[in-house]
C-alpha cells in the first residue's frame, strides 16, 4: 500500500511555482463561477421577501430572516414534499440496490445460455431515450392504479434496468477470486448464503457508489414524478413541488430559493459524506 502511494506521489508532475499559481488561480476562478449560483440561491433564501429585488445583485442581505423557510415549509407544503422525497428515495435506492446487486452477481459470475444476449439487450437499452419511455411507464403505473401515489413513484423510479449499476456490479463480481466463493462453499454455505455472507459484504464499495448515484438521481428526478403526480399534489417530491411553487401571477422568489435550498442541501451533504467511498468504488470497478 505504502509503495503504491509513494510511486503515485513520485509520478505526479510537479509544475514550477509560477505555473502552479496561474493554474490554481484559473481553477479557483472556475470553481467560483460554477458554485456562485448555488451560493447565491442559498443566501437569497435568507433575504426578506420584500428586499429581494432591491438587493438582488448584492450577495449578502442587509437583514437575515428565516421567514422564507417557515413559509415554504408549512404553507407551501414543503414538509410533505420533503417527506415524500425521503420515502421515495430511500425505497427506490433499496430496490435498485437489491435488484442490480443480485443481477450483477449472476451476470458477472455465472455462465448460462443466453447470458451474452441478455447483456446485449441491457446494453442496448442505454440507447433508448428516457423520454420515449414516459408514456409507457405512465400507462403501466395508471394500469396498476398507482397514479399519484408514492408507491407509484418508487416503482417507476426503481423499475428501469439501471444498466450502469448492473455493469458496475457484474464487472466487479467477475474479478472476485474463485477461492473466496469456494472457501464459503467448503465451510458449508449454499448459493444464497454465499451471496449474502460473502459476496454482498465484498461488493460494499460498489453498493456505496450505487447508493449515492441512485439517491442523487431519485432525489432530483423531475419529469416522471411530475407527470405521475399531476392530479395529486400531496404525493409530489421536492423537485416537482419546487416547480409547482411558481405561481401564475406572482412569483415568490425568496421562497423558491428557500425551497431550492431545502431540496439541494440534503443531497449535497449525502454526497460529501460518502464521497470517499464513492471514488473508491468507481476506481475499484474500473481497475478490477
Amino acid at each position: 500500500m505504502e509503495m503504491t502511494k509513494q510511486t503515485a506521489a513520485a509520478k505526479r508532475v510537479r509544475l514550477p511555482r509560477p505555473g502552479r499559481i496561474v493554474i490554481n488561480a484559473v481553477l479557483i476562478l472556475c470553481s467560483l463561477i460554477w458554485i456562485y449560483p448555488i451560493v447565491w440561491t442559498i443566501i437569497s433564501s435568507f433575504k426578506p421577501q420584500a428586499d429581494f429585488f432591491k438587493e438582488q445583485l448584492t450577495l449578502f442581505p442587509a437583514t437575515w430572516t428565516l421567514d422564507n423557510y417557515s413559509r415554504v415549509w408549512s404553507k407551501a407544503n414543503f414538509a410533505v414534499y420533503f417527506f415524500n422525497s425521503v420515502i421515495v428515495t430511500v425505497f427506490s435506492v433499496l430496490l435498485v440496490l437489491i435488484m442490480t446487486n443480485m443481477a450483477g452477481y449472476v451476470l458477472g459470475r455465472y455462465k448460462f445460455v443466453g447470458r451474452s444476449a441478455l447483456m446485449a439487450i441491457f446494453l442496448s437499452s442505454i440507447c433508448i431515450p428516457l423520454v420515449s419511455t414516459l408514456i409507457p411507464v405512465y400507462q403501466i403505473v395508471k394500469g396498476m392504479g398507482l397514479l399519484g401515489t408514492r408507491l407509484g413513484l418508487i416503482l417507476s423510479g426503481a423499475g428501469g434496468a439501471h444498466v450502469v449499476f448492473l455493469l458496475l456490479f457484474s464487472s466487479y463480481y467477475s474479478t472476485v477470486p474463485n477461492e473466496l466463493e469456494e472457501a464459503a462453499k467448503i465451510d458449508g454455505c449454499g448459493f444464497l448464503r454465499t451471496f449474502v455472507k460473502v459476496m454482498m459484504p465484498l461488493s460494499s464499495p460498489i453498493s456505496t457508489t450505487v447508493i449515492i448515484m441512485e439517491s442523487l438521481w431519485t432525489w432530483n428526478a423531475f419529469q416522471l414524478p411530475l407527470i405521475l403526480t399531476l392530479n395529486n399534489p400531496t404525493a409530489r417530491t421536492l423537485a416537482v413541488g419546487l416547480y409547482a411553487f411558481k405561481g401564475e401571477n406572482t412569483v415568490d422568489w425568496t421562497g423558491i430559493c428557500a425551497g431550492g435550498a431545502i431540496a439541494m442541501v440534503p443531497i449535497i451533504v449525502v454526497f460529501i459524506a460518502f464521497q470517499k467511498f464513492f471514488i473508491n468504488g468507481m476506481a475499484g470497478a474500473v481497475k478490477g
Binding site: 477461492e179 473466496l180 462453499k185 465451510d187 458449508g188
Partner: protein, 263 residues
C-alpha cells in the same frame, strides 16, 4: 506405520476429467485411482498443469469428474461437505472480517455461535500463534500469517480430511520452513488425514508418508513412493541419507515429466 489396520477414508475410483475449452477438450486427469486411509499424510507432486489441483477439487467436491467416482467415508462425493476442509494457496480469507471473525465464520457454519465461537476461535488462533492478531484484518498481516489464519480456519471447521492446495507455495523460504515444521507438529499430534499438493519435492518428503508422483498432462499417477522415514521429523530430517536417496529418485521422476511438458 505399516501393518496397522487402517480405515479407508477417501477412495478415488478410475477418475478422469476433461475440460471443454475454446480450443477443444483438454484432458486433465486420466483414469486416476487412489486410496487414502485415515490418518494418512499424502503429498502429490508433479509438473504444473498435471491435474493436481483438479484432483484436489474433485475430492473437495468443487468439481465433478467426467468419468469415474470419488468417495469419502464410502459415500460418493457429489458436492462440498464439512468433513472435507480446504486450505487454498491464496489464503481465501474474507477481507472485511477480522482474523478472529474469519475463524468464527467457519465455526458459525458448524453451528457454534456467540461467545462459545469466540473462545474456540481464539483457541485455534493460539495453535497457530496468532492470538495476538485476533482483531487485525487480513490486509494487515504478512503472507505467512495469512496462511496461518487460513489453516486455523480450516481446523476450526473440524474436517476429517484436510485438503491443501500448495498452501506454502506463495511464501518465502524461511516462512515456508517454519510453517512446514508447525504443520508436522500438529499432524503428529492429531493425525488428521491430509492430502497435500506441492511442487516442492523436499517439502513432500519431509511431510508425507506417501508421495504421489503425477505425470504430465493428461494427469496420471506415475508412481507412489512410500516415505519410510519415521516420525517425528523436523528440518534436520532433510539431512538424512535416506532423505537424499528418496529426493534424488522423486526429483528424477518429476524432472522427466517436466521435460515431457516442455516438449
Amino acid at each position: 506405520m505399516a501393518g496397522e489396520a487402517r480405515n479407508l477414508k477417501v477412495r478415488i475410483d478410475h477418475v478422469s476429467k476433461v475440460y471443454e475449452t475454446r480450443n477443444g477438450p483438454t484432458e486433465a486427469l486420466r483414469d486416476v485411482s487412489l486410496d487414502i486411509c485415515e490418518n494418512e499424510f499424502i503429498c502429490v507432486v508433479g509438473p504444473s498443469g498435471c491435474g493436481k489441483s483438479t484432483l484436489l477439487n474433485i475430492i473437495a467436491g468443487l468439481q465433478m469428474p467426467t468419468s469415474g467416482k470419488a468417495y469419502c467415508n464410502d459415500h460418493e462425493i457429489t458436492g462440498t461437505g464439512t468433513e472435507r476442509g480446504v486450505v487454498f494457496q491464496q489464503y481465501a480469507l474474507f477481507p472485511w472480517l477480522t482474523v478472529k471473525k474469519n475463524v468464527m465464520f467457519a465455526l458459525n457454519m458448524r453451528g457454534v455461535k456467540g461467545a462459545a465461537a469466540e473462545t474456540e476461535a481464539l483457541e485455534y488462533l493460539k495453535k497457530v500463534d496468532l492470538e495476538k492478531f485476533a482483531n487485525h484484518y487480513p490486509k494487515e498481516l504478512s503472507g505467512g500469517m495469512k496462511q496461518r489464519v487460513a489453516i486455523a480456519r480450516a481446523y476450526a471447521a473440524n474436517p476429517e480430511v484436510l485438503l491443501m492446495d500448495e498452501p506454502f507455495g506463495a511464501l518465502d523460504a524461511q516462512t515456508r520452513t517454519q510453517l512446514q515444521s508447525e504443520l508436522l507438529e500438529t499432524w503428529e499430534k492429531d493425525m488428521k488425514t491430509c492430502f497435500f499438493i506441492t511442487h516442492d519435492v523436499d517439502e513432500a518428503i519431509l511431510l508425507a508418508q506417501k508421495v504421489i508422483i503425477m505425470s504430465a498432462r493428461p494427469g496420471r499417477i506415475k508412481e507412489i513412493v512410500d516415505i519410510d522415514i519415521p516420525y517425528p521429523r523436523n528440518q534436520e530430517t532433510k539431512l538424512l541419507p535416506r532423505f537424499m536417496e528418496l529426493r534424488n529418485h522423486i526429483w528424477e521422476q518429476v524432472y522427466k515429466e517436466y521435460l515431457e511438458v516442455r516438449k
